[in-house]
Amino acid sequence: MSSLLRLEGVSKIYQSRNGEIQAIEDVSFSVGEGEYVSIVGPSGCGKSTLLSIIAGLYEPTSGAVYINGTEVSGMSRDIGYMLQNDNLLEWRTIRKNVLLGLEIRRLLTPETIEYADDLLKKYGLYDFKDRYPSQLSGGMRQRAALIRTLAVKPNILLLDEAFSALDYQTRLALTDDVYGILKQEKKTTIMVTHDIPECISMSDRIIVLTKRPAKVKNIHNIEYPEGSRRPLARRNHPDFGRQFNEIWRELDVHV
């Protein structure tokens, strides 16, 4: 697998009035095309910061991020970013929300609009295109947010705790859904989460980070046989519990 994204010695030191905080220390890894990689770590370890650096929202203090061999600086057009909340704009219909990214990037053409409409149709939201976000369920809203991100055709998708605002049942159903969508669209995905079962059920690889300052502690390859690769199927597989325990131990959580 050729590597699409590469992090080399990325460190981040925050400056604040109370002093310096080292959030990330010397993180390196690479992600291949079509891969689904999760980043887990103790809460507050700097995983979201890492994602923001990959997205180009923050600059690393040292080190660099490369996409297809080119160093990232500023917001990259290759990247679609999905946050914890769906952040749909309440005054826009679902369709206009989905077109927002294209609108901002000045990419609204009959072709791109058709592509967005196709996504809406494919993922069961076309009948709701003229509704407002407040008229949709949480799961549908998050799916609309995903389509908004996919509509700009990003090469790499970043999910920042994208499912954690949903209730448990919706989350299980939606992760299965999203997994299907992302595999079908062949998207390279990096997901940050604190939910261990969620990351085992969706990822090809899991990167475990240490407490702040975040360093790479371990990288797990997750392999499931054909036929039980979907998130819900994985949860029933005998390997699931073992993998959970391994990662749980590495996170070293103390209350």
Partner: protein, 272 residues
Amino acid sequence: MYTYKGISKERCEYIRRIKRQKTLINVARIAVFAGIAALWEILAALNVIDSFIMSSPSRIAATISGMVSNGLMHHIGVTCLETFIGFLLGTLLGTAIATLLWWNDFASGVMEPILVILNSLPKIALGPVIIIWAGAGMQAIIVVAIAISLIVTVLDMLSGFINTDAEKVRMVRSFGAGKRIIFTKVVFPSNLGTLFTLLKVNIGLSLVGVIAGEFLVSKAGLGYLIVYGGQVFQMDLVMSSVIILAVVAALMYQAVALLEKYANRLLKFSTK
């Protein structure tokens, strides 16, 4: 509505109860209003209160009907025009200044203490200064009206802009949006509610400014009538003008409320 088929008996009962409650409130409102007017009239007729100082509903009615043929509409028109211009300019300028300050952190840092001081200063105190600067007449009155609504608008709009959902801003930024797009796509639309609340506040504030301005310097308007009536000791005229003013203020407020409803529908805000 509740005669439609397929509605349960309980639902009919419920709707009927709500309607009855609504009617009762309306009847009570009219009764309270009529009661006060009647009491006022009776006490004046019995000479318990001095109708020369307190006036009375019948005298007010007579005065108003006399005023109609004596240029009342002109006075109402002048006051409304001044209020409307002051309100419009105060709100527009205030929103524009708030936008500039949101854009530029440095400028808003510099302006903050000035705004706080201006906000707590009673703007009427500037009346005499404004008259000298703007010239005695309608322009001075409008400036007073602007001065009263401007600072509140700047402060409230700015705090609304600053407190826009940071996650939404991050979302549009992730698509590569710059400051202008962040403002037009997220920050401003998020604060339309604040703007409409301010419109309602400002219509009242600029009316205060206009009446105060008319007290100081004017040849026409409801404020002028009130001051004139007071000077010539014609309390009927003062009371009549105050009552007309109350009606005008209520109508203006309703107009803004109606505009808000219409704009919300136009901007396709979901009202649910």
